[in-house]
């Protein structure tokens, strides 16, 4: 059965009893989830992790209480974030610092996928001044096009806090870009 006419919410609910329905959610959202992964850990790891995200989502379908007429995509991004964090943790066993507050970005992979040296440098400089939370907020809004309120709820902070942190994160990142531009001109 191909539940193409069903909403994400209905698939999520029905898949509790009928897990094979989950494939419809995969067909709908695999590309977006893959892009989320590829942006943060590169295409190579994204190919590896894509299935993991949906397998984790499948076993989490009992825990999600979906909204009426909601897309499951933000929920899937949340799971993808955890999968990426786990991936980075496995990879860097040696550095015990990889904890829950660590950003879900593999900078080496990001640098590898950006072919313009200038972009690599600017992105690294602009985002290096942000905290893990600010970085996640900013990227969910800028790269995945979530609304600030969605990102706020994602991180468990009030909309006011998220707005002001996003605002500050932008100011800081933009200021770093300004400094970079000035120093580069001087050279």
């Amino acid at each position: 059965m191909e539940p193409n006419g069903l909403s994400d919410t209905e698939i999520l609910i029905r898949s509790r009893a009928d897990p094979e329905l989950f494939a419809a959610l995969y067909r709908r959202h695999a590309a977006a989830v893959y892009r989320y992964l590829a942006r943060r850990v590169g295409t190579f790891a994204a190919e590896d992790l894509l299935g993991d995200v949906f397998v984790a989502a499948l076993s989490g379908r009992f825990q999600v209480t979906p909204h009426v007429s909601a897309s499951a995509l933000p929920w899937l991004y949340g799971i993808a974030g955890n999968v990426v964090r786990e991936h980075l943790r496995r990879r860097s066993r040696a550095s015990p610092d990889v904890g829950p507050g660590v950003a879900v970005v593999d900078w080496d992979a990001v640098n590898a996928r950006l072919d313009a040296h200038r972009l690599r440098e600017e992105l690294g400089v602009a985002l290096s001044v942000l905290t893990a939370t600010e970085l996640e907020l900013l990227l969910l809004v800028a790269w995945e096009q979530l609304s600030p309120a969605e990102a706020a709820a994602a991180l468990g902070i009030t909309p006011v806090t998220a707005r002001s942190r996003l605002h500050r994160a932008r100011l800081r990142a933009q200021a770093e870009l300004g400094v970079l531009a000035t120093t580069t001109e001087e050279i």
Binding site: R35, L58, Y77, G78, A149, A153
Partner: protein, 278 residues
């Protein structure tokens, strides 16, 4: 380069190759088949972050306009108001260095409806959130920290902060990490960050208000009636407005860029509700 342009131009990635798409689908189908044989009941719930719950959020397009009474006052007036709030805050009983949870209740509006948000911030475990505007259930948040500019404090670090206003301002300014062009704005925002939904003891609250009193460019906007009908003093700097009850030192409400949160209560708790598991 402009930040938005930079983020836009670094967002582009290709869609998955067919092989990756098929591989992932096969992985899922195998898991689905085995999950049918072994129902997932009893499997350990994984923490998915709150994106799960964010799925259907829609922001109201309407911008809330603050209803400010009274005329604008000077920075000196604002400092006086903050110092009064500081004194009152410092006289409150309490100090919760060992509480297991910090329970805060606030309200906010969206789509013309008022939502009540309750958060139980765990001392060193998983925090939980109940917010019907986000999800009908109770959501696990994972470990929470208290934001302060570029740094984050744990509960214990919060209790290790100096309560001498000059020293505290020094620590907080260091934490700003050269944020933006305007450290004063940042410091003003950090004061709110550490007052709301925070187990900061009375001595730290007092010091925070005293730090706020030293920030230049704050305007006293006079008496403000908050969403709950409580009366407080409005203190504004750029787009950040705090409404403070100077007789208790309580932060009643704040507004930033059109968003309004009204703070009902906060205090220690010995337990938190379990995250919803269905």
């Amino acid at each position: 380069m402009n930040l938005d342009t930079l983020l836009d131009s670094t967002a582009t990635v290709a869609d998955p190759p067919d092989s990756a798409f098929e591989h992932g689908l096969k992985q899922l189908e195998m898991a689905a088949a085995s999950s049918q044989q072994h129902p997932a009941r009893g499997k350990r719930a994984r923490h998915y972050g709150l994106l799960a719950a964010a799925a259907a959020l829609v922001i109201a397009a309407a911008v809330l306009v603050p209803s400010l009474a009274g005329s604008s006052g000077s920075s000196a007036q604002a400092a006086t108001v903050f110092r009064e709030a500081a004194r009152s805050a410092g006289q409150q009983p309490g100090g919760w260095p060992d509480a297991p949870y910090w329970h805060s209740v606030s309200t906010y509006q969206r789509d013309g409806k008022t939502f009540t948000r309750e958060i139980w911030i765990s001392h060193d475990g998983t925090s939980v959130l109940r917010d019907p505007g986000v999800d009908p259930g109770i959501m696990a948040l994972g470990p929470e920290t208290f934001p302060a500019g570029g740094s984050q404090f744990t509960w214990d670090q919060l209790y290790a902060l100096p309560t001498d206003p000059t020293q505290l301002a020094g620590v907080l300014r260091r934490g700003i990490h050269g944020a933006g062009a305007d450290d004063d704005s940042e410091l003003f925002v950090i004061v709110g960050d550490l007052l709301r939904e925070s187990p900061a003891p009375p001595s730290l609250r007092q010091a925070l208000y005293e730090v706020a009193a030293t920030v230049p460019g704050v305007t006293s906007v006079g008496t403000v009636v908050d969403r709950d009908g409580r009366t407080g003093q409005g203190l504004q700097r750029n787009d950040q407005l705090y409404v403070v009850d100077t007789s208790s030192g309580q932060l009643l409400q704040e507004e930033s860029q059109g968003w309004v949160s009204t703070y009902e209560s906060q205090g220690p708790a010995t337990s938190a509700p379990a995250a919803t598991t269905r």
